[in-house]
C-alpha cells in the first residue's frame, strides 16, 4: 500500500502520512515503535529483535517493545561477553551479540531441494515450504555491511541462490545507530560504521526514551504510516537531525581516539591498507604456527561471522529411501571436512586452517567479491573461546613481515 492511499486525518502539530516520505525523519516514542512492530506483524511478517536470553543479547521473535533490552549493556573482550545493567542505558545501548542477520538469511540449516523416487526414477520436487517474510529490528551498521557482503556472495555472481534471495527480497530492516562501542568493535577501521548510512527501511537514533526515525524506503514509510494512524508523529527539525548525525560522528571519532588503558579491554582497530598483499605475501609467516598454538579449530569465529558463507550439503532420507531432502548447513574452514579430498584434508594443520580463514576473510575476499569480508563487528574476537584476536594477528604479521617474493 502506498502511503498516499491513506485517508487524510487531522494533524495539529505532527506530520501526516503523506509527509512520511523516504528521506524524512520523525520522532518515534517507544510506544509508537510498538505500533511499527504491530504493523509489521499485521502485514504477515515475522518480527525479530534483540532480547536478553541465555546471558546475552540475541535475536528472538519480538512482539512487545517491553522485551527489548532496555537498560542493558554488553562488555566484550577476547573470549568474554558480559551483560550488565546500567541505569542510564537505553533500549539499544548493547552493541552486537552472537547472532547476526546471517542466522536468518543464510540459516544454519536450510532445505535446498526435495527429491522423490517413483517407480525407480528420481525426480526433483518443485515446492519448498513457505516462510513468512522477515523483519529485523535493531540492526547495526556493521550488520548492514555484512548483509551487503553476503548479497554479493549469494546474489552478485553468475549464479543466484534462490533461498537467500527469497528471504532477502522480503526482508524489512529497522536499523539502529550505535551510541557506544564495545572494545571488540572496530567498524571505524573497516569503514562499516558506526553510523548507519543506507540499506534500511527505517533507522533509529535513540534519544532518552524516543527515537529519531529516518525513513529509508517506501515500505518503511508505509509501515510508519500505519503506526502513525490516528496519532501523527512529530517531524524532526533540521537541528535535531543534525544532532543525531553528530552523535554517530562523535562515536566514530571517539573510536579512532580510543587508547589502551591498563586493566581494561584493549580497544580494537585494524590497519586495512594493503592488507590483501600483506597476507598473500606472508602465506608462510611464522605467526600462523604461533596462532595455531592457541587456536582450538572449534569453528566459533567462522560461525558467528556475519559474512562467512561456507556450507556443505547433507542428504536426509526417510526410512524407505524414496523421499530425500537436501539440507545445506553451515560449514567451517576450521574442520577437516572442509577441504577433504579422497579421504584426506588438504589443510591438515591448524596453522593452515587459521591461515585459510584469515587470508580468505581479509585478502581472498577482495579478489572474489571486490570487498573485504570483514565488517569490524568483533564477534570472532568475543566468541573465540580463547580470545584469539584477528586484529592482533594481522598486526603481528604487519610488524614482522619476512622478506618475500612479489604479490601473487
Amino acid at each position: 500500500m502506498h502511503p498516499e492511499n491513506h485517508p487524510t486525518r487531522p494533524e495539529p502539530r505532527g506530520v501526516g502520512s503523506e509527509e512520511l516520505s523516504v528521506g524524512a525523519s520523525v520522532w518515534l516514542p517507544l510506544d509508537r515503535l510498538q505500533g511499527v512492530i504491530d504493523a509489521l506483524r499485521a502485514d504477515g511478517m515475522r518480527v525479530v529483535g534483540p532480547q536478553v536470553a541465555e546471558g546475552a543479547v540475541v535475536y528472538r521473535d519480538l512482539e512487545r517493545t517491553s522485551d527489548l533490552p532496555l537498560g542493558w549493556i554488553d562488555e566484550q573482550d577476547g573470549g568474554r561477553y558480559r551483560l550488565t545493567q546500567q541505569a542510564e542505558a537505553g533500549v539499544f545501548d548493547h552493541v552486537v551479540g552472537p547472532h547476526s542477520l546471517k542466522n536468518f538469511l543464510f540459516p544454519s540449516r536450510d532445505t535446498i531441494g526435495r527429491f522423490l523416487r517413483e517407480d525407480g526414477t528420481w525426480k526433483q520436487l518443485e515446492d519448498l515450504p513457505p516462510e513468512p517474510p522477515l523483519a529485523v529490528l535493531g540492526v547495526r551498521a556493521c550488520d548492514l555491511a555484512g548483509l551487503a557482503i553476503q548479497d554479493r556472495v549469494f546474489l552478485g555472481g553468475e549464479a543466484v541462490d534462490p533461498h537467500y534471495r527469497r528471504r532477502r527480497e522480503s526482508l524489512f530492516l529497522v536499523a539502529v545507530n550505535c551510541r557506544r562501542a564495545a572494545a571488540t568493535c572496530f567498524c571505524h577501521s573497516t569503514g562499516c560504521g558506526p553510523a548507519v548510512t543506507g540499506g534500511f527501511d527505517l533507522a533509529l537514533t535513540e534519544f532518552s526514551g524516543r527515537f529519531l526515525c529516518d525513513i529509508g524506503s517506501l515500505r518503511g514509510a508505509e509501515m510508519l504510516a500505519k503506526a502513525a494512524a490516528g496519532s501523527p508523529l512529530d517531524r524532526c527539525t533540521a537541528d535535531e537531525v543534525q544532532r543525531a548525525r553528530q552523535q554517530s560522528a562523535a562515536l566514530e571519532q571517539a573510536m579512532h581516539a580510543r587508547r589502551e588503558v591498563p586493566g581494561e579491554p584493549r580497544p580494537r582497530s585494524m590497519e586495512m591498507e594493503g592488507l590483501r598483499d600483506l597476507l598473500f605475501n606472508n602465506l608462510e609467516h611464522a605467526r600462523w604456527d604461533d596462532v595455531a598454538s592457541r587456536c582450538l579449530s572449534c569453528t566459533n569465529c567462522t560461525l558467528v561471522c556475519p559474512t562467512c558463507f561456507c556450507a556443505s550439503v547433507t542428504e536426509v532420507a526417510d526410512l524407505s529411501g524414496d523421499h530425500v531432502e537436501r539440507e545445506r548447513h553451515w560449514a567451517s574452514c576450521f574442520t577437516l571436512d572442509h577441504a577433504r579430498m579422497h579421504g584426506e584434508s588438504v589443510r591438515s594443520s591448524t596453522a593452515s586452517r587459521y591461515r585459510q580463514w584469515l587470508t580468505h576473510k581479509l585478502a581472498g575476499w577482495i579478489d572474489q567479491f571486490g570487498t573485504s569480508g570483514c565488517t569490524g563487528c568483533g564477534r570472532c574476537i568475543t566468541w573465540c573461546p580463547v580470545g584469539i584476536d584477528l586484529t592482533e594477528e594481522v598486526a603481528a604479521i604487519r610488524d614482522a613481515p619476512p622478506p618475500q617474493e612479489a604479490t601473487p
Binding site: R80, Y81, S108, C295, C298, T299, V386
Partner: protein
C-alpha cells in the same frame, strides 16, 4: 511370495555388553520404529537387552558396549572379535573406558573396600580400558550414551559398505547452529565444547550447562590452550582437572591433559608457556 531370505542371507547382528550401564543398548532399543526396519534387514542373533535368545556366531556385525574391567572380559572380547566380521564399539565405556576409568587414577583396593561390604568377592582389574586396547576395532561410535540416529547410520553403513556419516567437529558447531549462547564466553563457565566431538546436539549448553565431553575429543583439539585460557579467567586447576577427567577422561587427549594439569605447577598460562 517368494522368500528372498532363502537365497540371500540376512547379515547377522550381535550386541555385546561389558562394564557399562546399558544406556547405549537402550538407545538402540529406543529407536524402536527404525529398529523394526533394521530387524527386517538383518538377523538379530544376540541382543540380550531385547531378547533372551542367543544364537551362536559367527556374526557379520558385532556392537560392543562397555569397557574391559575384569579378567574374564579380557578373554571374552577376544572370542567376540573372532566371531565378528565387523566390530563396532559403542559409547564412552567401550571407546574410552567410561566413567569407571576414573579408577585408573586411584587404587583399586581402596575403592573396593570403600564401596563393597565384602570386597574379597569382587574380581576386578585395576583398570577400566576401552575395547580397542584389547582387540582391533573397525569403528568407534562415541557418546554417553550414543545417539540413536548415529547408531542406526553406523549399522546401515556397515551393511552397505560405506563410511558412517558421523561428524568429528566440535560441539561448538552444534551450539552455534542452534543459536545457543556460549556458556564459556557469556557466563565464564569452563566448557569442554570446543574440544569435544559433536553428536549430542549441544544438549548441555542448550540447558545452560557446560559440555562434559560425552562424545570424547574432537578431530583437532588443543586442550592446553583451552584450559590455559580458563585458568586466566579464574578457573582452578582442580576444577579443570575434574572437568577434563570425566566421562571420557581416559581417552588419550583428555587423559594427557588432566595428567598435565595435575603435574604442572599452578598458574602457568598458555601464553607464558608458549
Amino acid at each position: 511370495m517368494a522368500d528372498r531370505t532363502a537365497s540371500v542371507r540376512k547379515p547377522r547382528l550381535a550386541v555385546f555388553k561389558f562394564a557399562s550401564c546399558d544406556g547405549c543398548q537402550l538407545q538402540l532399543l529406543d529407536a524402536c520404529g527404525q529398529l523394526m526396519q533394521l530387524a527386517d534387514r538383518v538377523e538379530i542373533a544376540q541382543f540380550l537387552e531385547a531378547s533372551s535368545r542367543v544364537d551362536p556366531g559367527p556374526y557379520d556385525l558385532g556392537l560392543v558396549e562397555g569397557s574391559i574391567s575384569t579378567a574374564e572380559d579380557v578373554e571374552r572380547i577376544q572370542a567376540i572379535r573372532r566371531d565378528c566380521r565387523f566390530l563396532v564399539t559403542i559409547g564412552a565405556c567401550a571407546t574410552s573406558g567410561g566413567i569407571q576409568a576414573l579408577r585408573n587414577w586411584g587404587k583399586i583396593d581402596e575403592f573396593l573396600s570403600a564401596v563393597y561390604a565384602s570386597p574379597e568377592t569382587i574380581d576386578a582389574l585395576a583398570t577400566s580400558t576401552p575395547i580397542a586396547d584389547h582387540v582391533p576395532v573397525d569403528f568407534e561410535l562415541r557418546g554417553c550414551p550414543v545417539d540413536p540416529h548415529q547408531l542406526l547410520d553406523v549399522v546401515t553403513s556397515v551393511l552397505l559398505g560405506r563410511r558412517p556419516k558421523v561428524p568429528s567437529q566440535s560441539v561448538c558447531v552444534e551450539c552455534k547452529s542452534r543459536g545457543t549462547v556460549c556458556v564459556a564466553v557469556a557466563r565464564g563457565i569452563p566448557c569442554l565444547g570446543p574440544v569435544t566431538q559433536a553428536g549430542c546436539g549441544a544438549l548441555c549448553p542448550t540447558h545452560n550447562r557446560e559440555c562434559f565431553g560425552c562424545y570424547g575429543p574432537a578431530e583437532a583439539v588443543n586442550l592446553v590452550s583451552l584450559t590455559g585460557f580458563y585458568e586466566q579467567q579464574g578457573a582452578s586447576r582442580e576444577h579443570l582437572t575434574r572437568l577434563v577427567r570425566g566421562i571420557n577422561g581416559y581417552s588419550e587427549a583428555f587423559r594427557c591433559e588432566s595428567d598435565r594439569l595435575q603435574e604442572e605447577p599452578d598458574g602457568v598460562s598458555t601464553r607464558e608457556r608458549a
